[in-house]
């Protein structure tokens, strides 16, 4: 937008005069000249007036420079949108808690599921926190500058959950959340005899033959087992140790599988290092391309098979990034 002329010049002629006078006067800077000679509207519209009144008033100025701690528009403490009480600003993990999660997983070698169950944080979030922290640590090692002032400001504006070791803490979020399956969103009327013990498994079967029950779809089945053992009369400590061992074993298994995969891959490739490149050769099977030569499993481009990657009408935006 072109800069507007300053204040009290409503009619055009004085403005032009002023411009001329100014340009004549300042010989040192002949190019200093305003672009527009239209005077701006002197009267502020009522709506704008009211807006500035509000912004400069008590409420608005509170938002302009917050005193620390979250402050939202809505009538409720954690409600950012005044009209929508169904959306709330939920707390995030604070800096120390994230550091603690990273330490537990990377430093002390606890399993993700055990950390998740102990701290009341979703397993996926635990993994994400560790992943992001790893990047942060790498940056620190490289001497790359972090966005500290930004992070401080943002964290001061958000509600936070704290987890302190050795204290009584509230869970951050439910750790055993189950997606509502599409098949279960219908209302079913299943006639069942009154004497029958109709469990969750039966209910799942009633919706669909292949439908799994909640217990089978749980992200934390070991935790359910642990609770069951406690109800059967074992001590909490004992079953907790067992739970930790089970999750650790499972995680070790996954880790071992990944290592094996890498080793197999390594075995199949031959590396030839020249002074500029490292060539990696792998055995391929020419039959992988399938009968029409266009199977996704095949290697390379078949002679005669057209490239589709630049065709009109085909979406080029990738659907996943490995």
């Amino acid at each position: 937008m072109a800069p507007r002329l300053s204040a009290a010049a409503t009619p055009l002629a004085p403005v032009v005069d002023a411009c001329l006078a100014q340009s004549c006067k300042s010989k040192s800077a002949p190019f200093v000249r305003s672009f527009s000679s239209t005077p701006f509207q002197q009267k502020m519209s009522r709506a704008r007036q009211q807006m500035y009144q509000w912004l400069k008033g008590r409420d608005g100025s509170e938002f302009a420079d917050p005193k620390g701690g979250p402050r939202y528009l809505g009538p409720l403490q954690d409600q950012p949108f005044p009209l929508n009480p169904l959306f709330r600003s939920q707390p995030v993990l604070d800096e120390q808690t994230r550091e603690l999660i990273w330490d537990k997983v990377m430093g002390r070698g606890e399993s993700l599921k055990a950390v998740s169950a102990e701290m009341g944080v979703d397993v996926r979030r635990v993994a994400a926190v560790v992943r992001l922290k790893e990047v942060e640590k790498q940056w620190q090692r490289e001497g790359k500058k972090l966005a500290t002032p930004y992070a401080k400001a943002v964290m001061s504006m958000l509600p936070k959950t704290y987890y302190r070791e050795g204290e009584k803490n509230l869970p951050h979020e439910p750790v055993n959340e189950i997606h509502v399956h599409k098949l279960t969103m219908q209302q079913l009327f299943v006639p069942v005899s009154e004497s029958r013990h109709f469990t969750r498994e039966d209910a799942a079967k009633a919706f669909h033959d292949t439908m799994l029950s909640v217990d089978a779809r749980s992200p934390q089945p070991e935790l359910i087992n642990m609770e069951r053992e406690i109800l059967e009369g074992k001590t909490r400590q004992e079953s907790l140790a067992k739970f930790k061992e089970a999750t650790q074993k499972e995680e070790d298994k996954v880790a071992r599988r990944i290592v094996q995969e890498q080793q197999r891959e390594e075995k199949a490739t031959t590396r030839v290092t020249t002074d500029r490149y490292e060539f990696r050769f792998k055995e391929i099977n020419a039959d992988d391309v399938g009968r029409n030569g266009r199977s996704r499993k095949g290697t390379g481009w078949r002679y005669g098979a057209p490239f589709d990657d630049r065709k009109r009408g085909l979406v080029k935006i990738p659907t996943s990034v490995p």
Partner: protein, 530 residues
């Protein structure tokens, strides 16, 4: 899509995905509410109005055709199933006694949940409106899963929206620009398509500079004019004073190498401390350049420089580091520039704070050592000259400083007292001043390093496209929330898209400023049924 004319309007207000103050005001005066029913608007009219309203907020930059393709009538939700409940009950208690007229047990999964509930605490200041239809209607929705609020969930998967939701940009359009300009990576690979649909587990990362630019206060044209003027003036004065001092001291050094400096010092200290400070200011500049001087004169030059350098800092260090005034902050910045000059770093160099402090410490130590050697010489000639006041003073200092090297800082005061036993009160104060001026204790040094480090975190830097030191832009706090489907690490400006947004009992994860009724009408519009 092109940005529409009058994007933020007060006359025909629309809500936008932005932190703009017009938008804040529009949100405050409840622009998106359902209008009072006047006349008999048809269902179609109501739907149309609701759709227009919501689309001006959700993906306003996306063509309608594209959004319609994205729309999904399958709305996701999740239920909390505490393991305690699953272990204790197998679900049969839900079916028991049904149909026989028995009241069943009130055991549900919800009663086992330990997750803290949403706050119901109202801010007391605002009085509730009488007969607020929107509120009355929305109260009952707290006990159900608000599926309708999930209508625009597919848009939350888009990369540009996720960047905005993670608080890395001040509007979706800005987030989109960041993506297009190549400042965003997904899983470490540059992604230039704002419409890329994030998959659960994708990590996206935005260039820190862009984030600071997007979320920081805008840069004013000549914000640091005063600071630069100050720095420039200091430099100029320094150059001038150095030449004078070199000339003067050079003459003195040849004429009377030993007695004169002490006398000169006494004189300047007593009579015109300001003039001394000004001269020393100059010597801060390049005291090491004066190679033509005798070592003693050079040392004196150095001493004055150090004294001046530490003059303001001492005052600052006495205060609480968290409550520095603007003036003190400025002094700290000036000190930094001076220290760089003193240690003959190039002015623009990006010296690390730790390095700077280490070097300063080294300089001080060598300075101390040099003083000791000079003072030994002094002592011999001082005896010959018999009782020169300052000679005695220097002797005392020498004794104390030797001890002080070994002793911890706590004992120092006492040591100084002991060393100065034979002197008059006036001399004592003078001697202490000399010790204090040109030297910082280890404690003070550490404190100074911490202060400088704090300043280093958020420095004044004119090369940045935002106002420095960085501050969050005004009205940001009203929009600062991070939905649970993202896990954000603001230190590196990166986030992980954990899962798709879901609805739960009493709350939906899609941030939308509209009420349930409006969303319902919108959803019905896109269902394309009558």
């Amino acid at each position: 899509m092109r940005k529409p004319y009058r994007f933020y309007s007060l006359a025909r207000p629309k809500l936008r995905q932005s932190w703009n103050k017009y938008n804040l005001y529009n949100l405050y005066r409840q622009t998106g509410r359902e209008p009072q029913i006047r006349g008999t608007p048809t269902f179609f009219q109501q739907k149309w109005a609701a759709k227009a309203k919501t689309r001006s907020y959700h993906g306003e930059h996306i063509p309608e055709k594209k959004w319609v393709r994205l729309f999904s009538r399958r709305l996701l939700s999740a239920v909390d199933m505490p393991p305690e409940y699953l272990a204790a009950h197998d679900g049969s208690e839900q079916a028991a006694g049904r149909g026989s007229g028995l009241t069943t047990s009130n055991v549900t999964a919800e009663t086992f949940s330990k997750v803290p509930a949403l706050s119901t605490q109202e801010r007391s200041r605002r009085r509730p409106l009488f007969g607020d239809v929107n509120k009355l209607l929305s109260d009952q929705f707290n006990n159900m899963t608000p599926y309708m609020q999930m209508t625009f969930a597919p848009l939350e998967r888009r990369l540009d929206t996720a960047v905005f939701r993670a608080l890395f940009a001040s509007s979706v359009r800005q987030a989109r620009q960041f993506v297009i300009h190549g400042a965003v990576t997904v899983n470490g690979k540059k992604m230039v398509h704002p419409s890329y649909q994030l998959n659960p587990g994708d990590m996206f990362q935005v260039d820190i500079e862009k984030v600071m630019y997007g979320t920081g206060v805008q840069k004013a044209a000549d914000a640091h004019k005063r600071l630069h003027e100050n720095l420039e003036a200091r430099q100029k004065k320094a150059d001038k004073a150095l030449q004078n001092a070199v000339k003067k001291l050079g003459g003195n050094a040849t004429a009377e190498p030993t007695a004169e400096p002490a006398a000169a010092e006494g004189e300047t200290e007593g009579e015109k401390p300001e003039a001394d400070a000004e001269a020393a200011e100059g010597e801060v500049a390049t005291s090491e350049d004066a190679g033509s001087l005798t070592p003693e004169a050079q040392w004196k030059l150095n001493n004055r420089a150090l004294k001046f350098l530490l003059k303001d800092v001492k005052k600052i260090l006495k205060n609480n580091p968290k409550e520095l005034s603007a003036k003190e902050k400025k002094q700290l910045r000036l000190f930094r520039a001076d220290a760089k000059r003193f240690l003959s770093h190039p002015e623009k160099s990006e010296a690390d704070v730790v390095e700077l402090i280490d070097e300063l410490q080294l300089q001080m130590k060598s300075h101390e050592l040099m003083r000791e050697s000079f003072e030994k010489l002094d002592l011999k000639e001082g005896q010959a000259q018999s009782q020169v006041e300052d000679g005695a003073e220097v002797e005392a200092i020498e004794a104390t400083s030797k001890e002080a090297e070994a002793q911890p800082a706590v004992n120092r005061e006492r040591e100084v007292e002991k060393g100065l036993e034979g002197l008059s009160d006036e001399q004592k104060t003078k001697a202490k001043k000399i010790i204090g001026d040109a030297k910082l204790s280890k404690e003070e040094m550490r404190k100074l390093a911490r202060l400088l480090q704090m300043d280093e975190e958020n420095p004044v830097d004119d090369s940045k496209p935002y106002a420095t030191p960085w501050r969050p832009r005004p009205y940001m706090s009203a929009f600062a929330f991070i939905p649970r489907y993202l896990e954000v690490n603001p230190n590196i400006c990166a986030a992980v898209y954990l899962r798709h947004p879901v609805a739960r009992k009493g709350m939906a994860e899609v941030p939308t400023p509209f009420s349930y009724l409006t969303s319902q009408l919108t959803h019905n519009w896109y269902l394309e049924r009558g």
